[in-house]
């Protein structure tokens, strides 16, 4: 089920980022980007290497602090100075490299930094294991290894742990950076089902992927970045994969691309 | 980012500074008694031990400066490699004569060669260097061993002995002190069966003295303590009593006392060497029987005087020293020949040690040694052997 443009009017966006700028010593990784996300929608974020997609999302997840620009969450101005701030706003991130502590088990990873404690301040490992079993039951019922270090799990299982961590704490906004890059077909299908499921629950999801067909399949809107700027943000039904590809590679909107350039792409 | 790099650079810089050997330089005060432009360099092997700073150095320095010379030094901090660097540096700083306290008698030979090549006379101070051209100024280390064993053997002429030796790389520990023990009659008694060495093979089945006794790396007190504890346990397991302990020096003797106290074993007669304050205190308290004191004040004077004379061109055999007669060499105040274990004949000034038991403590108390009466008499009551001399 996709959202039509009319359905988004009048609703408060979950997240609105305005004129975000990030530069590293003269290189403009993000050069004035504005983007927004509504509840129950998936926004695909695409672009070539170095386009700035990961950096932009890192600003939202608190891993990077923008040089300038504003962020609003649920209509209120938001200050995101570190990962904890982001989580407080209901923003959860699944990183490309998963950011799991390989030597700890699944419950420990899910609750990392947000551990459940007993009265005296000691860790309540049983409660955390229980909660993890519950959330994992929804995501990946075949997952059994709650006591082994995640280092010994398969790629798909590790991905499940990362996703479990993201959904455990009532996320409203989910950032997924290349979620299926390291997965086989079966596990990829699993993740895609999950993404759709979360969308039905009303989450807003930013999906970064280099796989055009994946993005096209799942997203409601697609934002294309090129050299730190947004080329355009379009609704899926208004474009085809070719024009998206053109935007990614040439950095121009469909209307601006000449026929010669378009032929050169094929 | 910049702060991190700067901090790292500063850190390494500080590290390099700290790692360089410590050194002291001094200038002779103007208007001093003598006038010479001799630079006397001293290469210490381990300046950390209290005796060097408290006794040897002030006296070497005093003798050098009162003759108008300049004193420079470096500390190798127990490293033979560091000592080679130190000697090079001292030569580079303009040393005219070198006083060398060898960390390892073999490893130091290249440094010795460098000094000889630069035409610098070398005094081997306290520790022997196997080379025919040096002037060996030391205490009669064999005599120290003899005094240690003589005192203990008189108390305990027969029974079970434990031998605690020092660092295996030091010829004093491996050769000279055991030789002194034999001169006092130890080997005879072991061969005749009157004395059994508990921490060694059966009499006759091992090589004497090498296989008998326990060495202590770097003369370390804690190592001596742990070794002694194991030895006491083994003796108890065999139902044998320890009747006497020959420890080669005070730092190891201190560890032995700690082990005896931990086991509430009592205090069989125990030897030591150096006259360290804590050990002299133990002698007064009855925990150590004899401490063979070497008045290093006089050794320092002798070396300082000899250094100045060598620098001014005096031939080695014509050097003449002027020190306390109770400590002066038996053969007179000029160097005589000494046969080394390695077969060299070296010119030497061999000073006399002073064995101290509880009755002799007044000698050291009155001699201006760096162990003060307070140090030596701390906690001494009328039940203790040193009580009288502590009045």
């Amino acid at each position: 089920m996709t959202m039509t443009a009319d359905a988004t009017k009048g609703r408060t966006p979950l997240v609105e980022m305005r004129d975000i700028r990030v530069s590293y010593g003269g290189v403009h990784a993000v050069a004035g980007v504005s983007i927004d996300l509504y509840p129950g929608e998936i926004v695909g974020l695409v672009g070539g290497n170095g386009a700035g997609k990961s950096t932009l999302m890192k600003v939202l997840s608190g891993a990077v602090v923008a040089d300038s620009g504003e962020i609003e969450c649920h209509g209120e101005p938001a200050h995101i100075g570190n990962p904890r701030d982001a989580k407080a706003y209901g923003i959860e991130t699944i990183y490309q490299n998963l950011a799991l502590a390989d030597n700890l088990d699944a419950p420990a990873n899910v609750f990392l930094g947000r551990e459940v404690t007993l009265g005296v301040g000691s860790l309540d490992d049983s409660a955390m294991e229980n909660a993890t079993r519950e959330v994992m039951g929804r995501l990946n019922p075949n997952f059994r290894n709650f006591k082994s270090a995640v280092m010994s799990l398969s790629g798909g299982q590790r991905q499940s742990v990362a996703i479990a961590r993201a959904v455990q704490f009532n996320a409203r906004i989910l950032i997924m950076d290349e979620p299926t890059a390291a997965l086989g077909p079966a596990e990829t299908a699993q993740v895609r089902n999950l993404v759709r499921q979360l969308k039905e629950e009303g989450l807003g999801i930013f999906l970064i992927s280099h796989d055009i067909h994946d993005v096209y399949d799942l997203s409601d809107r697609i934002s294309v970045m090129y050299h730190g700027r947004i080329v355009d943000t379009v609704r899926k039904e208004d474009v085809d994969t070719d024009s998206v590809l053109g935007m990614i590679i040439l950095g121009k909107r469909p209307g601006e691309v000449t026929r010669e350039e378009l032929e050169a792409l094929h | 980012m910049v702060t991190r790099k700067l901090a790292a650079v500063l850190g390494v810089f500080a590290l390099v500074l700290a790692a360089c050997g410590t050194g002291t330089t001094s200038q002779a005060p103007d208007g001093s008694a003598g006038s010479t432009d001799c630079t006397v360099a001293v290469s210490w092997n381990n300046f950390q031990q209290p005796r060097w700073a408290a006794a040897d150095e002030p006296n070497i320095k005093g003798a050098v400066e009162s003759a108008g010379g300049t004193y420079i030094s470096a500390d190798a901090d127990l490293s033979s490699e560091q000592q080679l660097t130190d000697v090079s540096n001292l030569i580079g700083q303009g040393a005219d004569v070198l006083i060398l306290l060898a960390q390892d008698q073999n490893a130091v030979l290249p440094a010795l060669q460098e000094a000889k090549d630069s035409g610098i006379p070398v005094i081997a101070y306290d520790r022997l260097i196997e080379d025919p051209d040096i002037l060996y100024i030391t205490f009669n280390n064999i005599g120290v061993g003899e005094a240690q064993a003589a005192a203990v053997l008189e108390e305990v002429p027969s029974g079970n002995y434990v031998l605690i030796k020092g660092d295996p790389g030091d010829p004093n520990a491996s050769t000279f002190l055991p030789q002194g023990w034999d001169d006092a009659g130890l080997k005879e008694k072991v061969d005749s069966g009157e004395i059994t060495i508990l921490n060694g093979p059966e009499a006759g089945s091992g090589e004497w003295p090498a296989d008998y006794g326990t060495y202590t790396d770097a003369w370390d007190t804690q190592t001596a303590q742990e070794n002694m504890e194991a030895i006491i346990d083994a003796a108890n397991a065999d139902n044998q009593t320890i009747d006497a302990i020959l420890a080669e020096n005070d730092s190891t003797a201190l560890g032995v006392v700690a082990a005896l106290e931990a086991k509430n074993y009592g205090f069989p007669p125990l030897s030591g060497q150096d006259g360290d304050p804590a050990n002299l205190n133990n002698v007064a308290l009855g925990k150590q029987f004899v401490d063979v004191w070497k008045n290093a004040n006089e050794l320092g004077k002798a070396a300082g005087q000899a250094a100045i004379q060598l620098c001014e061109g005096t031939a080695m055999e014509d050097v003449a020293i002027d020190i306390d007669s109770s400590v002066a060499p038996l053969d007179g105040n000029s160097p005589t020949d000494f046969e080394t274990p390695g077969g060299n004949t070296v010119k030497s000034l061999i000073l006399q040690p002073t064995p101290l038991t509880a009755e002799d403590l007044d000698v050291v108390i009155n001699a201006g040694w760096y162990a003060t009466k307070d140090d030596i008499c701390a906690g001494v009551t009328d039940a203790d052997p040193g009580f009288e001399d502590c009045q």
Partner: protein, 442 residues
């Protein structure tokens, strides 16, 4: 949880392999940490070997007590080194730190407290004041090093190497290098020795508490799992562990009580309690030495911190993946700083045992400790890659290394020989660990 049925041999498989698989299955059912169990076995083998070589003279209570007390200074430090190495750092200054604090204790009790602060030589609680000051000093050193490492970003190897050198140099100035002896008699008890044991009754009490703790731990663990419906260990495994654990605790107590007071003190005891001494002397059990109690306390607290507190969890998380820890919102800098503060405090405790045993301090106390401590942690299973290591493992590692050292001394082998053996054991232990981990990863 391994299913024993799964390990039944396929036809054609060798009986030995099947037997091994079955043992592994059983071990898996008990969920005992294999590495730790292996260390205990190794320690047992070493003690047995020495006992055979010395025709039974070696393995006696008095000797084992000596061995244990000798191992304690390094073992205490090793518990802290685990956390430092797990979080991908190293502390090379522990030896010098122990040395300077030991010298501080000695100077406080022989000179500064009596003379400078006017407290008489027999001032009560001198030992406690010295101990508290020592702990503060250790924490302060640790905090300074930890700050430079965590907040300024200088690598721990460089900072603690600088600490090793400069602190060792500073010790000289306390007493111009001389040994300082004559500590407070109460302080000396911390080192154990003939008077520093807790006696028969308390030893049995501790054995009993240990046994109860094992049972309580097993029961509580089972209860927690039941609470959430998790799979529990089979009953036979629980009972076996309970019995073995309890037996071990009581066995250690009995063994410690097999160590008797030396004759002089036994006579004193007899007089005090109005007992007539039989011929051959009164056998008064000495029990656990005080430093052992200290070690037990330190081990329990450190293990608890490592596994049941957020600080410990964060140390391991950082060691496993520093970025993940940062992204999880953990204050990683503070966590690292704390590991060095803990190390400093442990150095003060270790220094107390060392100086109490020596009844003083010398310039060389703690020389090369950093090497023994790191070796103990590594032999005990801590990995330099970070994220892996246990507290009990490190303590066992310290005991394994000391067992070798003591055993060789007992047999009269000189220190060069001891060092050779220690080095070989270290390499073997790490090689075995690496091989084991590779096998598990396949």
């Amino acid at each position: 949880m391994a299913n024993v049925a799964d390990t039944a041999p396929a036809s054609g498989q060798s009986r030995a392999a099947a037997g091994l698989a079955r043992v592994r299955g059983l071990l898996g059912a008990t969920e005992v940490d294999v590495r730790l169990f292996g260390m205990l076995v190794a320690l047992g083998v070493i003690l047995l070997a020495f006992n055979i070589l010395t025709e039974g003279r070696f393995f006696r209570p008095a000797n084992m007590v000596t061995l244990a007390v000798q191992a304690i200074p390094v073992a205490i430090l090793a518990t802290g080194m685990v956390l430092v190495i797990v979080s991908r750092n190293i502390d090379l200054s522990v030896g010098s730190l122990t040395g300077i604090i030991a010298m501080t204790y000695a100077m406080l009790m022989t000179d500064w407290l009596p003379n400078v602060l006017g407290m008489g030589v027999d001032f009560p609680m001198r030992w406690l004041i010295a101990l508290v000051l020592g702990i503060c000093l250790g924490a302060a050193f640790g905090a300074v090093q930890g700050f430079i490492i965590a907040y300024i970003g200088v690598p721990s190897f460089v900072v603690t190497l600088g600490g090793l050198l400069s602190i060792r140099g500073a010790i000289w100035y306390f007493s111009n290098g001389a040994a300082v002896t004559g500590l407070d008699p109460t302080f000396q008890l911390i080192g154990g020795g003939a008077r520093g044991s807790i006696g028969e009754m308390l030893t049995w009490a501790i054995g009993g508490i240990g046994c109860l703790a094992v049972i309580a731990g097993l029961w509580n663990g089972r209860r927690q799992r039941r609470r959430f419906g998790f799979p529990v260990r089979p009953i036979w495994a629980e009972i076996t562990l309970g019995v073995l654990g309890c037996a071990a605790m009581l066995g250690l107590a009995a063994f410690a009580n097999g160590n008797y007071l030396p004759p002089g003190l036994a006579s004193e005891y007899a007089r005090e309690h109005g007992i007539t001494e039989p011929s051959g002397g009164l056998k008064v059990p000495a029990g656990f030495p005080l430093p052992i109690i200290l070690l037990i306390g330190v081990t329990v607290v450190m293990a608890w911190i490592a596994t049941r507190r957020r600080f410990g969890r964060y140390v391991y998380a950082y060691g496993g993946n520093p970025d993940a820890a940062e992204l999880a919102g953990i204050n990683t800098r503070l966590t690292i700083l704390k590991t060095f503060v803990v190390m400093g405090i442990l150095a003060a405790l270790s220094a107390a045992v060392v100086s109490a045993r020596l009844n003083g301090a010398t310039l060389d106390i703690g020389n090369s400790y950093e090497l023994y401590v790191i070796a103990a942690a590594v032999v005990g299973g801590t990995s330099f890659a970070g994220g892996i290591g246990t507290i009990p493992g490190a303590v066992l590692g310290a005991f394994v290394m000391q067992a070798l050292s003591y055993g060789l001394s007992f047999m009269g082998v000189n220190s060069p020989g001891q060092n050779v053996v220690a080095g070989i054991v270290l390499i073997l232990a790490v090689a075995f660990d690496t091989w084991n981990r590779r096998r598990a990863a396949r």
